[in-house]
Amino acid sequence: MYSRFYLSVLLISGLVLITFLVFATYRELNPEWKKYQLEYRDLLIKNAPNEAARKKAKSIKIEHQQIYIKPLKKVDRCMNCHRGVDDPLMKDAKVPHKLHSGDYLKKHPVSKFGCTLCHYGQGRATNKKDAHGKGRDTHWDYPLIPFKYIQSSCAKCHDYLFLKDNGGEMVVEGERLFREKGCRGCHKLNGVGGDLGKPLDIIGSQPIAYFPMKYVVGERNTYNWLKQHFLDPRKIVPGSEMRVFLSEKEADLLTTYTLTLRAEEMPRQFRAIRYTTPVPKDGESLYKMYCVACHGNGKISAYDEILKRTIPAIMNPAFLKIADDKNLERIIKEGRKGTPMTSWKRTAAGLRDEEIRNIIKFITKDRPDERPEPFDYKRFVTDTKHGKELFNVRCALCHGKDGKGGKDHLGLNLRNPAVQKFVDPEFLAMTIRDGRKGTPMPAFGKTGVGLSDQDIADLVAYIRSFSDKGKK
């Protein structure tokens, strides 16, 4: 009777509509977690020790499990699938029904702490992929933390002294490594440290987008980025100047420690910090914290491919012989512009005067007793022109024609304003005359190449004239 076309359209689309409504309802009624809960119930029934327990197990309800932690504003729905996590009967069950390993849950009841506080992952999610936060399409910045880094979560509430004996060795070791590998030579933490790298204060809680994931192998998450970049910084960040050479295990330790550096702070009632860990103040520890990344043991001077320059041997006796404390303090405090050596004073990198003095004390512990023979630069009348000729023949090989040193040159940058400004001519002259034993810098004086004192004075005058030219 009615129009055939529209009626058939109505019929077909009505059928499609009903089909999809049925599909959608089915999908909504059968979420992934239900399967796990049913499995869990079957396990309970199977493992029930007595009839009463079996009866109880049979009456268990399949429903949403949610932990709401008010002070943290956290919602965890992990127990939708991991319902057996605090059930002692599930000791031998398989994941996801397995009882939580160790006795952590005794002191950290699930109802108070939830799961994602330590394990991360997306607590609100109710399917495995989203909840574990794996893959980029889950759009979750804090995926489930690999088991080997899990200890980083302990440091949210516990102090290092406690962790040391109570299952947090990796954090403690990581912290030690962090100090001894000299990370703070380049990175600031709590406002103290060098300026070359990025500040690390909240690095562990930065979103994934913060890290350039281009070269990361395997899953692209913060954990893998951190570890792989500890193993080979230049592979992950091309052109990185990070000087770090670690074994696999050390990289894991440092990753664990880095992950403890987070922005959020636990509310008081969660924290259990009893002791503040003392920060070492002695020269050796400080040297390791701030200097060791570049200067190593300070004994040898080598050209460095990473920084593209020669790193001076600051604990070389020949150097210490002529460098007095005041000179050293000035170098450390002001830094050397144009080199990676930052200014370490209180207002820049954040070291206290006392700490700098301790470092100097440590550096100069091998200083030879004898003092060098003074050069007395002032008594000479100098000729920069002659100095220039000498420089081009004698010094340019290593220091470069313009004295700038730099790439593929053994010598240091002599045009460096710090050298020009702070290093007195006496020091320069003595260095040229006596060389630096233990480094490629030979003695140009009578004992070595055989330049006269006048020649050396001319050279010094020429070198010092760089700064005048620089200004023009």
């Binding site: 009777m1 009615y2 129009s3 055939r4 076309f5 529209y6 009626l7 359209v9 109505l10 689309s13 009505g14 499609v16 509509l17 999809f20 409504l21 599909f23 959608a24 309802t25 999908r27 909504e28 949403h64 949610q66 919602v75 729905r77 997306q122 609100r124 999610a125 109710t126 399917n127 989203d130 759009h139 979750w140 910045d141 979103p207 994934i208 987008a209 913060y210 350039p212 994931m213 281009k214 692209r220």
Partner: protein, 518 residues
Amino acid sequence: MGEVNQSGIAKFLNNIRSLKKSFLGSFLRSGKPTSDKSRAAVMFNNFFLHIQGVKTHINTLRPTYTFGFGLISLYLLIIVVISGVLLMVYYNPSVTEAYNKIKDLKYVVFGGNLLRNIHKWSGEGMIIFVLLHMARVFYTGSYKKGREFNWVIGIVLLILMFGMNLSGYMLPWDQLAYWALLIVANIINSPKEITDSLGITQYFDIGGFFKELFLGGTNPTQESLTRVYLLHIWLLPMFLFLFLGIHFWRIRKDGGLTRPDTFERKDSDIYYVNPPEKTGGIFPTYKTYGLMELARGRTPAVDKDVENTVLSWPNLLIAELAIFVLTLAGVIAYAYFVDAPFKEPANPLIPENPAKAPWYFLGLQELLSYSAFMGGVGLPGLALLGLALIPYLDREEDRVGIWFTNRQGVTVALQSFIIGTIVVIGILAFVVNFGWFRNWWPNVPQILITLINPGNIWVGFMIVYSLFVIKKTGSTRMGAIALFTMFLVSYVIFTAMGTYFRGPNWDFFWSKSQWPIH
């Protein structure tokens, strides 16, 4: 007394007994529509139905004439409104809560994810169908003969609909939302480009003023979310419904949908309509025009082609119902399979790379990457103005209601389609390969780029080409067809360019798989 009481109670009991009948009778006043008269009365007496005529022209019911685009847009709007109200149950316009609320909706609300998908996709579906509707109205010349103003209303509705979609995009407060909000705010800010060039920003910062109005500050904050929310759920819908009312009212006043002056009924029409009964009924087809018996109008309308009309009940209503169910089924099927995008929580410190606006604005964003002002304000403004002016600049009134007017129209449309495609792709290829002024002369003043950029050149070409067509064919309608076809082509191509071929740093990539991972 007792007798009166008794009879009163009896009456009352009687009333109760006949409650169903009397209630239904008051509700469905014309009774079961069995005769033509009662069918007409149903349409007439019902608030919701009376917006439609009692009789409908067969042309309106032919699916190949309208394809139901306008109707589908309306139904999508209804679906959007209903699903939107349902979403409001859970949504909370707060920068800290909005994101979590939507996650909850996804994970623990029965059908919540589907609901969100339906809301999202029917909203975006509206864009497509409104544009198709617009194209239909245009190509059948339906903006003429008194319908000029309704076309303008349609343009207003188009803008409002874009605004609704856009403001909705920002509510989840994820990375997409945040950066889209920022980009839109800066599009609003883009008149600065002109005021800067003129050096009057200091005194007359119109872009900055509106940006501030929109964001409630200088950066997207809670204030911005509140304002966007207000726009999305109240201000824009209110105006949308206001103008929608006018739109429908005008359709009715203009005599329903357009149709050819010389309409010929085909045998195949029998598939679409329930043919009018030749015998019986109150409308002897030989006698009267229109609804004189029922309507207390002044004069019977002539020229209604009454021979080719059929009763709206049931013909029109069954068609409308069919299309409604079709729309709903389509939306739900799509929403079942495709999830609405939802990314990481908003992070003001780390921009998305590429930071893309929602897809329907990516054509604009492509233009924006040449010049912010022209792409964001100048060209869209010009395009909307041009669209609105079409009915006033093309006043040829013959052959309204026929697709492409005539054979020449088909040719012109096809030619402009081909030429438009080639020229747009040519311009894009040129820009991708050789860059623009700034790549050649880095110090070129901005005003020059604002005035001469690929977008402007394209618009200039469109105008010149349609003038050329007008001159060649001697018909303004042909010029309009050329212009509109090119507009559609460029909208589609620019949008596709922005969506599929632009990657990080807005560089060109053949496919997303070539994007550098970052």
